[in-house]
Amino acid sequence: MTVLPRPGDPVITPALVAEHGLTPDEYQRLVDMLGRTPTFTELGVVSALWSEHCSYKHSRPLLRTLPTKAPYVLQGPGENAGVIAVGDGLAVAFKIESHNHPSAVEPYQGAATGVGGILRDVFTMGARPIAMLNSLRFGSLDHPRVRYLFAGVVKGIGDYGNSVGVPTIGGEVVFDPAYETNPLVNAMCVGVMHERDLIRAKAEGVGNPIIAVGARTGRDGIHGASFASEDLSHESDAKRPRVQVGDPFTEKLLLEASLELIKSGHIVAIQDMGAAGLTSSSAEMAARGDVGVTIDVTKMPVREEGMTPYEILLSESQERMLVVAKRGHEAQVKEILAKWDLSAEVIGEVIAEPVYRVTEGDRVVAEFPGSRLVTDCPVYHPDARESDTIAALRARDVDAIRERPEERDAAWTLRELLSSPTIASKAWVYRQYDTSVRTNTMLGPGGDAAVLRLRGTRKALAVKTDCNGRYVYLEPRVGGRIAVAEAARNVACTGARPMAITNCLNFGNPKRPEVFFQFREAVGGMAEACETLGTPVTGGNVSLYNESPNGAVFPTPVIGMVGLADDVDHVTRATFQQAGDTIVLLGEPTSELGASEYLARVHNVTAGAPPRCDLQVERRLIDLLLEAIQAGVVSSAHDCSDGGLAVALAECAMADREQRFSATVDLSSWSGISKRAMLFGEAQGRVVVSTDSPARVERIAAARGVPVRRIGIVEAADRPFRIEYAGGQLVAPLEQLASAYHNAIPSIMTRVAVADDALAADAPSTVGS
């Protein structure tokens, strides 16, 4: 059909093309594809679909190197969410996604809509969301702007998830100046379904109607996908109107209606209208089904008058879905939506002709051949070269850094670390999240991983997000490996077998060789770890251009790990359970100190090589842990990570406010390791276990070839916390450590009224019930 410029639309000029973020080469590709000058609408469509956010044009070739297969993987990358089978006819859908840029300029709505989007990705697979996790990165809480972002993001996540009724049960919050103006807000959702209810977002069946469902379309969020694909700058605040506004109430209705719709059998496909809205949902569904589609924008239910095709196609108004129904079942679809007070309008249909066509009534305003709109997007292979500065930081001899005078008392150092906001209790955060709704939560936030029972079975699901960006910054391959290994270790500590991951790759501008080097290496490290640990990647999200005038964030490939415990009786806590238990360290202590939280917190130094990560050892450690837990000889198991062994032991003792213990630990026989590496070094592959049968743990460890040491005894809470080492000892009243750990974040956040005031002006008027 003939496509003519729409009266009143701007004329296509090089300046307009540049404004849409297309390079001259990309624009030429578009002209070649069409065989003519694009219309303004077509330019808008392509600018969204070929944005980094939608197209993965810099990351795709490397993502293909990740392992994605296992017999239990039902759906790998390329769908709304990954899906694995967990037995008993059940499947688990899960996915992680970033909402960094919106949250940097509008923390409350940015985070809230991030939660909304990832929920929709999971329930459009046919799964009922049962848990949310969040992986958050902020600058130092010393800065008022950071406190404002932190408080706003947490409130946004809470208000949205709480209202929809999905428990937010885990994640991580890390603070480092590297994230000061560019926070990272990654939200993960986990859902459960019967395998038979799995549905994919693939348009099929010529003549089937395409239906827009849910909220009406407004002018909000236009070009959100493009905004997410550029560096943050001083002008970013002016792009606040590109941030969408969420309505969790409509989301809850949409969730119930969608699940009912999927079960009803009246539809063949369903997809969230997320980034790039109607454009990307319709084009992607058509490309997956290898069919043509035609859409009439005048049929779209809109919120405002006079919206152009360009605006309707690119709006990112929230809480909308695109559905392909079975022909003749339109009335039934509308009836289900009406029950939930939601609208459903037929806006187009699946056609045999291989085109992607958009009309405004009778006028064709955009038309692309076949699925080339999706497949013709360029793929880039940028240069990769390590930054000399970072290589020099890694090579620095951190053992030469002198101890501060206060460190003569190792208890001082331990308190410093326990009160570091990255290590300290995050109860201030998760007290604002409903963790108990849906009554599946066995282990909520604050442990190594969160654990949910799988109703109707004996099984339980463990979920965790993890990444140490400082490690990845200093040595990306090792950091990528550790991110996966640590997430797996966390899940195994709760008694679950690590099964599969989703990932959210937060990096800087890929056109800079030093950034692309980090990306390539980190993905390489992750691939190695996923391969060795048997945890394929089932999907995820790439967020590039996390840069501000101060530079790029730490490269942060966040891993969202899902694990399965065969029996709820195996679910194990991180904290000590009874006085008199023997404390056992699994894994090998080393003299490594590089890239540690100790150096960052106590010496303000980000340098040295991160600890080595031997994946074979990690695998054996996981097998050993699971065998010992299943044998019933493990009272508690806690991963040894940020802050090292001393911090891990202190956490085992007092992280649980309701049930505290102390510990007497003796490391005096350890030789050849400095005091601070022994106490605060972050050697990988280590787990602190408490047990009433140490000999049996030792036998299992020996059989698995994992080093094991009895290092102490769990004591009653009124005894001092004590670690002896060659040449001295760390002694502290337990209460003092608990206070450092539990009060750190509340005391910062309540001291400061600025954040609350700023928020009050921002947040909507309801907190809700």
Partner: protein
Amino acid sequence: MKFGVITFPGSNSDEDAFLAITDVLGQEGVKLWHKDHDLRGVDVVILPGGFSYGDYLRAGAIARFSPIMREVVAHADRGGPVVGICNGFQIACEAGLLPGALLRNASLQFVSELCRVRVETTETRFSNQYAPGQILRLPIAHGDGRYTADDATLDRLEQNGQVVFRYVNAKGETDPSADPNGSMRGIAGIVNERGNVLGLMPHPERAAEAIVGSADGVALFESLLAQVGV
């Protein structure tokens, strides 16, 4: 015994209540829809937790106008038992079934935790299976839970034994620091004068199995069963 759980648009603990009734207590559960005009012969009505109508305007303020609420009020007027949990407590107050109101938490933050409440009276049809003074662990999860009423109302509630649950610390004492939302006199749950309508902010239906942290909520429902000797 037949328990009806109402689903308002935005209810999110309706399923939790339904499963506690059916799976854990083995009683008959009926899912009631907000647009209906029929309680379908249930003995007990549960107004569940959640965010009915998004809590827009004010928590519970719109739900009270739902068609089914006319039937719920009539049921209560006949002396039929009603349990309002969290958002359901807010709806019951808005509907005039219970005195007082639930305001924004004193902290201005949503609060979610396993709190402690003390059973203040066992002389109600909702608490007769507890021991007097028993300390319960029940989850709370709300932004608007600060129970508020004028002094005369509060005095009357106390004198009539209408305060059923009060927030306490680990020693079982009332203590402002153990009151998670700033409720007046630490009130977590009350009954109406006639004793057939209970409203409480904590979630007994989410404390029905030890595997999810606490089973202390079960006796609340068992109290209703004991009442009729089921």
